[in-house]
């Protein structure tokens, strides 16, 4: 009997069978793997959270600049030397703030802000248009937000960008080769003031002593660079610096213009008449109105209404 018990104890004290040991090891490995994966996931999440925090407010604006015709205005003689080294260009860009007037809607601009706000507060208005009772709703105009900024651009008359420079020489030597090649007047070059060479990107900025050399070189897209007995064609392009000033995002709010809706059912074709009638109604103080500047209605095709800035003082 005792021997049997001993045997049992013996069995219990034995290490796991191979099969059981495998299952255990596998599970351990699995646990390790999952722990690793989870740590990786946590890192990824942390990274994204930080990125998103910084990203709010990061967006790209692409604008096509409509062409403006220019004309000669005056000849100036400034003291500042640097103004002769560039063709400078500046202009103001402002987003158009628009409202797309739908069928049955109208815009009405009052002379006084208080009147406009009162009309909105009153909400519903009962008009009589050619013996037809119309209920019109007055609301603030929902306007899009926009951007404004000034663009300042300087197109250099003495500097050019050079790219596709081969990577065969140490920095100093290549700089010298560039200076020599771009000084050769028989190739269109001229006296070089300085060379800024960036070996990793294979690019350089060459500054000439005199304006005019850059223009000549830029008539072609490439230029010969001589290194020992070989001639390489490097690409040349204009050197410009552009920056923004007075950048702001703004949201348009309409203080004097009110949106009227509810005119869809009208069977009128004479829009001008309708506008006159609406105008008359809202001019009357007893209707809650006041002096009206302009009324515009849409009975069919949607039309785009432009909103402009109020010109009253600096701020």
């Amino acid at each position: 009997m005792a021997a049997d018990e001993d045997n049992k104890k013996q069995v219990l004290k034995e290490p796991l069978s191979d099969k059981e040991y495998m299952k255990d090891e596998q599970r351990e490995r699995l646990i390790d793997e999952i722990v690793k994966e989870n740590t990786q996931l946590k890192k990824e999440i942390q990274r994204l959270e930080t990125e998103l925090q910084e990203a709010t407010g990061n967006f790209q604006i692409k604008e096509d600049i409509p062409e403006t015709k220019v004309k000669f205005t005056s000849l100036e003689n400034p003291e500042n030397d640097s103004q002769f080294l560039n063709i400078s260009c500046s202009f103001q860009v402002s987003s158009q703030v628009l409202y797309e007037l739908q069928k049955g809607q109208a815009l009405i601009t009052f002379e006084k802000e208080e009147v406009a706000q009162n009309i909105i507060r009153m909400g519903k208005h009962h008009l009589k248009i050619e013996d037809v009772d119309v209920e019109v709703l007055a609301k603030p105009v929902p306007l899009n937000s926009g951007v404004r900024f000034q663009v300042h651009e300087a197109y250099s008359k003495v500097k050019i960008n050079v790219t596709e420079i081969p990577d065969g020489l140490p920095e100093d030597q290549m700089r010298d080769k560039l200076e020599l090649s771009f000084s050769k007047s028989r190739n269109g070059g001229g006296e070089v003031l300085c060379v800024q060479y960036d070996k990793p990107s294979g690019s350089a900025v060459i500054t000439f002593m005199e304006p005019g050399v850059a223009d000549k070189i830029l008539k072609k897209k490439d230029y010969p660079l001589y290194i020992n007995q070989n001639c390489y064609r490097v690409t040349v392009s204009p050197y410009t610096e552009t920056h923004l000033k007075n950048f702001q995002v703004f949201s348009g709010i309409s203080e004097r213009t009110v949106l009227l809706t509810g005119l869809e059912e009208l069977q009128m074709t004479d829009i001008e008449l309708l506008e006159d009638l609406v105008n008359i109604h809202f001019q009357r103080e007893m209707n809650g109105g006041g002096e009206v500047e302009v009324v515009k209605c849409s009975l069919g095709q949607p039309c785009i209404a432009y909103f402009e800035e109020e010109r009253n003082g600096m701020i």
Partner: protein
């Protein structure tokens, strides 16, 4: 010996955790995708309100240019021994340009000059990237009818927000925008603190006013597309030899370029830059 039950539990818990983490990751990736598609119309909280009004200008249909350009100004340097001739009629300018060299005969005077089209670099498209500024804030909420010049207003704001006892700090930049002012500080912490506080009572002249301070969304040019366009009515005259002085040269050129027999016509403006001098020709928007 390893406890079966415990490790099964651990495995289960870890699997659950992984499922949660994966969900969260998908959520964040989705948000990042959405942000990438976001247009500027969806960031109103960073914009300050600008009052606008409808004055009756409309356009039928649904095509409208997205932006307005104004205050165009181009400065073009002219070398010594050159002149800028602006004709009334662009066709005359074109005719004059057909000959690259002009010989000017006036009395005993013979001058040979070169004539060239005037080409100006014009920006046709821009790409701007925006970012919430770390060091700048937007000050807004100014009362209407404030009787201060730009310089006075900026000074008073810099004085107030330059003081640490007001929660401010060293002001590095200041800029007047429409309806608001941007102040840039040397320290991030100042900008952060001011935005968090949000409201300040600031003396502007005789009275104090409550002003709002909020984060500033700044913009930077990423790319600008530039092409050259010629000015239709103007012509550049180059390499004028140094034989006459300013006023005489002006007269002689004027006479030459007005002669129809030489392809010329009515001259609107003629400016000479005598040899040895320099000039800056300024171009602004032509009103139709």
């Amino acid at each position: 010996m390893y406890d079966d039950a415990v490790s099964e539990e651990t495995l289960g818990a870890l699997r659950e955790e992984q499922a949660r983490l994966k969900d969260r990751l998908r959520e964040l990736q989705q948000r990042r995708r959405e942000l990438r598609d976001q247009t500027r119309d969806q960031v109103p909280f960073l914009a300050n309100a600008v009052p606008l009004v409808f004055r009756g200008h409309i356009k039928q249909g649904q095509e409208a240019p997205k932006c307005l350009v104004s205050e165009v100004r181009i400065s073009y340097p002219l070398p010594g021994g050159s002149a800028l001739v602006t004709f009334d009629d662009p066709k005359v300018a074109q005719r004059v340009l057909q000959q690259k060299e002009h010989e000017i005969h006036i009395e005993e005077c013979r001058l040979r000059v070169q004539v060239q089209a005037l080409e100006l670099p014009v920006v046709t498209a821009v790409q701007v990237s925006t970012q919430v500024s770390r060091r700048s804030v937007l000050v807004s909420g100014f009362p209407a009818g404030l009787r201060l010049s730009e310089e006075e207003l900026l000074d008073k704001l810099e004085i107030f927000f330059g003081k640490t006892r007001n929660g401010g700090g060293d002001v590095e930049t200041r800029e007047l925008l429409r309806g608001a002012v941007v102040l840039g500080f040397t320290e991030d912490t100042v900008a952060q603190y001011l935005c968090q506080t949000g409201q300040f009572t600031v003396p502007l002249g005789e009275h104090k006013f409550p002003l709002r301070v909020s984060p500033y969304l700044s913009g930077e040019i990423q790319k600008a597309d530039i092409t050259f366009r010629s000015v239709p009515q103007s012509v550049l005259v180059l390499n004028i030899p140094d034989v006459l002085d300013g006023p005489e040269l002006q007269d002689i050129l004027q006479i030459h370029f007005q002669k129809p027999s030489r392809g010329g016509g009515e001259v609107e403006a003629l400016r000479v830059v005598p040899p040895g001098q320099r000039g800056l020709a300024v171009f602004t928007a032509a009103s139709d």
